[in-house]
């Protein structure tokens, strides 16, 4: 049985059906991501001064991933144009590059960025104990400059058993550079190039700590929204890659041989989804990495 309007346009809509379908789907996606971004805005506006972390993500890596995603958006549109020009070889090359870009994006995210966070530690200091850790926080210096205070000390946790063992009374942290030299003006704002934890060790007593954990979703509203939104976005990247892989299979070549426009339209629809995923990332990147 021939499915109608896969290639030719319906007279009433002026469109082939899949195009209407993908746009309705994208509309629902806008609502899905819209809800999460809305929650992000709510959490962020409600965070007091110094409560919303800055500079905890790796900006160069995030920038690279942004570039990779933009490049893949270009290649998918070139793959589609190649089909329109009836050049199957070129189509396959561009599609392969697109898939490669998607896979690199996911590998960087899941095998590098996320695990690095899981290995990073932060302790929020109780309000009345902030003075005790002034040598790491440098809040007098920040106050003079009119900058929001620091309430958390981050770095590499040396005694990981302190997280679970109640008998251990303090956290031993190899400090991140900013806490090793908090009054240095170059530390007032986050750096572009992330620096590894210093060899300066601070011990922070548990009774002075309001809350401490690795950089997991439960660490803070910031990381909860970061992992939720980038996780959902990553799932979308994975979905796109799988669809593109299908479009490289012999089944798709058969469709091309039968009617090249049919495959071109399929690629266009998958491309629309891919561009949407790119578009979401364009907002995710500055909101989480830069601001």
């Amino acid at each position: 049985m021939e499915i109608p309007y896969t290639v030719s346009a319906r007279r009433d809509t002026g469109l082939w059906n899949a195009k209407v379908g993908i746009w309705l789907f994208l509309a629902s996606e806008v609502m899905l991501f819209g809800g999460l971004f809305s929650a992000y805005i709510f959490l962020r506006l409600d965070a007091g001064p110094g409560d919303w972390p800055h500079g905890l993500l790796n900006v160069p890596v995030g920038t690279m991933n942004t570039a990779i995603l933009i490049a893949s958006s270009v290649t998918v549109v070139l793959a589609w144009a190649a089909l329109k020009m009836r050049d199957l070889t070129k189509y396959r090359i561009y599609m392969a590059i697109t898939i490669l870009c998607g896979v690199v994006f996911l590998v960087v995210k899941l095998a590098y960025e996320w695990p690095q966070k899981f290995d990073h530690f932060g302790a929020f200091i109780k309000e009345d104990a902030l003075g005790k850790y002034e040598q790491y926080l440098g809040n007098k210096h920040l106050l003079e400059k009119g900058l929001p205070p620091r309430k958390e000390i981050t770095g590499h946790l040396h005694n990981k058993q302190a997280l679970t063992d109640a008998n251990i009374k303090e956290y031993e942290i190899a400090l991140d550079p900013v806490y090793a030299d908090p009054t240095n003006p170059v530390m007032d704002r986050p750096h572009f190039w992330p620096k590894p934890a210093t060899d300066k060790i601070a011990s922070i007593e548990k009774e002075d700590v309001q809350y401490a954990n690795m950089f997991l979703p439960k660490h803070s509203s910031y990381f909860a929204s970061y992992f939720t939104i980038t996780g959902l976005h990553g799932a979308h990247v994975l979905g796109g890659v799988l669809v593109f892989c299908y479009m490289m299979l012999p089944a798709s070549t058969r469709i091309y041989r039968h009617n090249p426009e049919h495959l071109a339209n399929r690629v266009e629809v998958a491309g629309l989804f891919w561009h949407f995923v790119d578009l979401v990332w364009i907002f995710v990147f500055p909101l989480f990495y830069l601001l």
Binding site: T13, W23, A71, V77, A81, K84
Partner: protein, 113 residues
């Protein structure tokens, strides 16, 4: 930039059409380059102090909106699409604004402080 026209089923016109698509391809590459350039600009601007954190957020979102607009208009062909799709998107825009408005209400009038 509009969509390339649908391909002609007549063989001898295909060549002419391919030329047309090639012209669009140059446009796509230009847009890609612009997006990459503006990614660099976004990163650079985030290290400039615009006075308040709010001003920095506004600048970054302005650049992001411009980039998203380019993706939507050119890559997603929204600059020249059929009316039905615009209608769908108008509804979507309405509801998503409603969603953000609810958040605003919750923030403006919290249950407790």
């Amino acid at each position: 930039m509009n969509n390339p026209p649908d391909i002609s089923p007549v063989e001898h016109e295909t060549e002419e059409y391919a030329h047309e698509v090639r012209r669009h391809v140059r446009g796509y590459l230009m847009v890609g380059a612009t997006l990459l350039a503006f990614t660099a600009i976004t990163v650079a601007l985030s290290y400039v102090n615009f006075g308040t954190q709010k001003a920095n957020v506004a600048v970054a979102l302005l650049v992001a909106t411009f980039k998203a607009g380019l993706v939507a208009a050119i890559f997603m062909h929204l600059s020249a699409e059929k009316r039905l799709i615009y209608r769908v998107l108008i509804f979507t825009g309405f509801f998503v604004l409603g969603l953000f408005w609810l958040t605003y209400l919750a923030w403006y009038d919290p249950v407790h402080r």
